[in-house]
Amino acid sequence: MEIIGIIILALLVNNVVLAQFLGICPFLGVSQKVSTSLGMGAAVIFVMALANLVTYLIQFFILVPLHIEFMQTITFIFIIAFLVQVVEIILKKAAPALYQALGIYLPLITTNCAVLGIAILAVQKNYSLVESVVYASAIAAGFTLALILMAGIREQMENTGYPAGMKGFPMSLIIAGLLSLAFMGFAGLV
């Protein structure tokens, strides 16, 4: 029950992008097409679950025993950067087409604040190892969901006219605002 609660909260109620404002850069940057957002989403789910697994172990088997919890930020960001490199190398070999499509956004997962943010939040929330990994996966799935919804709407918007000044970021942000409004309806679900 606990686990299901965590999933619903992370996926819908406290959606990482639309309610917690983490990972906005890739959300605005890679949401032009549904196909690329799927790829990006998959990469993020993988990296985040892995990152939470590793950072959990580091936190409770290295930082806490040594009483250097204040080194958390610096260690976590390093681990995440390292993991992203590994994923990049694997993807380049295994799925070159996807690697081409994600282009510069894959290294940008390092600076996707959702990855670092969720790793720190999971520690703050005192989750167990399993809860932490489930939480990260659900959060990343929520990110993917928001990304795909956004991409779908933007694909439709291409055929509509709107003022030139609103092109690009302003329009995306306003769509995001309306999506966020819709997601507020999930409040109180758990």
């Binding site: 406290n14 204040f70 080194m71 409040a187 109180g188």
Partner: protein
């Protein structure tokens, strides 16, 4: 000076050097701020305990008892118990957990409540910090309510919920209720013994 080449030796040396210098700087700042951080968090605790209880002359933070996950701060004036401050929490907030400090008088009545840490929606849930909402609880005796249960009016209770923030209001009640139940089960009886018997009523669960 020319830029260092990217040879393996240079790369390792450079990174090692930077990491060492930076870790040293960090350790230095950590030692410098360690005491102020501890002092700031203790000052916050003491201030909250003072706010929720009538005047006392002991140092409740040195006599804390932890029961079922809640922290109890016993306060005495001239050796006579005058109540407990209870650090309680709820998981049912709009944005998850928030912490409250609830002051109970020996008879189980609430003296005052302070919101400690919260992440509720600014302008909505955060209104629970305002007197208009939280002062409803002052001098409230939960023992005298229906089923000894604290509820918002929408759920058939007595508390006026914050408008557009029923979830936060319910969660607030939940946190206070938890503090009350554990307080009554574990502490109210002994105090009732040294004071008068009217408190016994609240002690019966």
């Amino acid at each position: 000076m020319a830029k260092l080449e990217s040879s393996l030796r240079n790369m390792i040396l450079s990174l090692l050097l930077i990491s060492l210098v930076m870790s040293a700087a960090l350790g230095f700042v950590y030692n410098l701020t360690k005491d102020p951080i501890a002092a700031a968090s203790k000052a916050k605790e003491v201030k909250a305990v003072k706010e929720v209880l009538p005047e006392f002359d002991n140092d409740p933070t040195t006599e804390i008892k932890v029961v079922e996950g809640l922290t109890f701060y016993p306060a005495t004036q001239g050796g006579k118990p005058i109540g407990f401050a209870v650090k309680t929490y709820t998981e049912k907030g709009y944005s998850g957990r928030f912490d409250l400090m609830v002051g109970f008088l020996p008879d189980g009545k609430i003296n005052n409540i302070v919101v400690l840490e919260q992440k509720e929606t600014p302008g909505l849930g955060t209104k629970m910090k305002e007197p208009k909402f939280k002062d409803q609880f002052n001098t409230l005796d939960i023992g005298s309510l229906n089923n000894q249960e604290l509820k918002v009016k929408k759920d058939g209770g007595t508390i006026d919920a914050i408008s557009a923030a029923t979830i936060s209001s319910r969660a607030f009640c939940d946190g206070v209720q938890k503090a009350y139940n554990i307080y009554m089960k574990n502490f109210a009886m002994n105090i009732a013994g040294v004071n008068d018997s009217t408190m016994m009523k609240g002690g019966k669960q």
